[in-house]
């Protein structure tokens, strides 16, 4: 039972981390390698909340806003001039990720730090005593998925975004300002990465390099799920579950490799991954 909870909660964490990367990939056709950097920014936003002794829950909206605003600036200054050169844009985001890490090191120092957790200890859930915070993470991830689905399917911007995802040239021909769509998407993606950073810190630690392993996992998950939020959910459950099982029955070192190796295998035998088409 607790193993099932481990799998579901691990998948929820992965989903929260990868969602921002996926929507940017869908709309802009670039992998945002600064995703790990934005995630780190979110974690340090949570650290600021801890240092100011605010309510730890405030870390979540605060991180989202910080990441979103930073994303707006980055899209305007760095990514937009490179629209026509997607490969250069990918390189630029990679460099940006490094710059973000260095700036954080300059200001906050290299050391590992810790943030306050909004809830403490374990609760009884289905007859098991289980970490309260990890259970909350599941609720947050589901809420996130529902909110993203509503935005994409229920708003005008979502409609435009889907149009851009399907065929950008045609969408522009129909009068959709794809520049605005890209701007909003990138900012939202950065905000989500930052939110994910704030979400994962209470159970672990904060350091300037923390984003890299998450970026790798999120990257692999996005590659196997194409551009669908639903298939991302499936990918998180399957690969995250495999990671938990391998770590439990094999060992933790192998567990760390699971997502990368499995994703590569899946892409080898089923190039479209978890996407339906």
């Amino acid at each position: 039972m607790s193993q099932l909870l481990d799998i579901v909660t691990s998948a929820a964490i992965l989903y929260a981390v990868a969602a921002g990367l996926l929507i940017v990939f869908g709309v802009m056709k670039i992998i945002n390698f600064a995703h790990g950097g934005f995630l780190t920014v979110g974690a340090y936003s949570a650290l600021i909340v801890t240092k100011l002794a605010w309510n730890p829950w405030l870390a979540l909206p605060f991180a989202f806003v910080v990441g979103g605003v930073l994303g707006m600036v980055v899209e305007r200054v760095i990514v937009r001039p490179l629209y026509a050169r997607p490969l250069d844009a990918i390189l630029a985001t990679w460099g940006l990720g490094i710059v973000l890490g260095q700036l954080i090191t300059l200001y906050f120092g290299r050391e590992v730090q810790f943030v306050a957790s909004p809830v403490q200890g374990a609760v009884d859930f289905l007859g098991e005593s289980y970490s309260q915070y990890r259970l909350i993470l599941v609720i947050v991830a589901v809420a996130l998925a529902v909110a993203l689905a509503l935005v994409l399917n229920g708003t005008r911007l979502g409609l435009q975004a889907r149009a851009v995802i399907m065929n950008e040239t045609l969408a522009r021909g129909l009068g959709i300002n794809s520049g605005v769509v890209r701007f909003v998407t990138f900012s939202l993606g950065a905000g989500l990465a930052s939110l994910a950073g704030a979400l994962i810190t209470p159970l672990s630690s904060v350091d300037p390099g923390m984003g890299v392993p998450w970026l790798v996992s999120a990257f692999m998950l996005v590659l196997v799920s194409g551009i669908s939020l639903l298939s991302l959910g499936v990918a998180c459950l399957v690969l995250g579950g495999a990671q938990v099982l391998v770590s439990t029955y094999g060992n933790a070192v192998l567990g760390g490799l699971t997502i990368v190796v499995l994703a590569a295998l899946i892409l080898r035998f089923r190039p479209q991954g978890f996407a339906r088409d």
Binding site: E111, V112, F114, A122, Y130, S131, R134, A252
Partner: protein, 386 residues
Amino acid sequence: MNIQKRLILALAVSSVMLAMQGASAADPIKIGIPVGLSGANSVVAPSVVQSAELAAEEINAKGGILGRQVVLEVADDGSGAAGAQKAFDSLIFQKKVDVLISMETSAARNAGLPIVSRGKTPYIYTSLYEGRSCNKYLYCNAPVPEQMVAPIVDKFMKDGAKTFFLVGSDYAFGRGMLAFTRKYIESKGGKVVGDEYAPMDATDWTPILGKMRAAAPAAIVMSTAGGAPNVTLTKQYKASGMKAMIGNLSVDEGTAKSMGADAEGVYITASYLTTLDTPKAKEFMAAMQKKFGANLKTPNDLSVPEYDAIYLYKAAVEKAGSTEADKVIPALATVSFDGPRGVIQMNDQRHAPLNMYLGQVQADGSVKVIETFKNVDPGEQCPNLK
């Protein structure tokens, strides 16, 4: 042409003169401190540097070593092997330090030792570790398993624990420490129901906690890399709701403080605790508080040996009358220093008999002394080293 030749000659002469100056007696003695300012150890590294700074300041105020001032060269080893190779290389061959004195992870120490041998530089290792690291140039003044494991395991068995679960970081320290612990538990009739290792920089302990839950041990002994992994493991253990007795072989008082209430009840063994009630320990604490004020990082069992070791080096250089490695190395075993941890002498196969304390972390992060063990012997460490 002529002018050029003369210029070159002048340059050559001046560089020879510079080189000769380099050997003069007024030159400072350089102490290299490779330490994990980033990575796992970054939680404790600042306290190590502070200990070294106090020792250097005190020594310099009293005229230095053999009339030479002491200068510290701190380098970040990234808490691991790759960073340590760079740090040792630059300290030994570029900064040309006279000695290395530092607390590091075992991974960093093992990576640095071949460079130490090549550079023929004395190296005093000041971190508790898994033991049996032997090198012509290496001394250690901090605890080894023979001094750390028994108090915790004996206490748990006395309190009725029969089943143990071991968890650590996957490298020399975690594996070595827990291999010793397993042997000790089994020799006392206890049973090890599981042992698990996570990568050194792991932050997610979920699967290991799952196995722990399934094994349902009465007591758990942890031995991760010092600092960050300790905090994440303890936090996640606490959040999991399990309630076994916890002993930790690598948590120091400073790190315990940064865990807050999550560390409450954890048993540790240490050769130094801030609550030690000896004149030397109080004197040290007062000096640290005076020097660093509000910026003071809690002195702890990973930082105080650094302070002792710099004084031990001073005594050895003064006895040898030189900083030459061949003379300092034999002298290091013969000198002693009466410091915050009592009288320390590294005369036992390159290691030191130590006073050890069994402590329990309290809700406010302080450590209460449960039992004291005087002059615990480090056992067989390096029988083949002269």
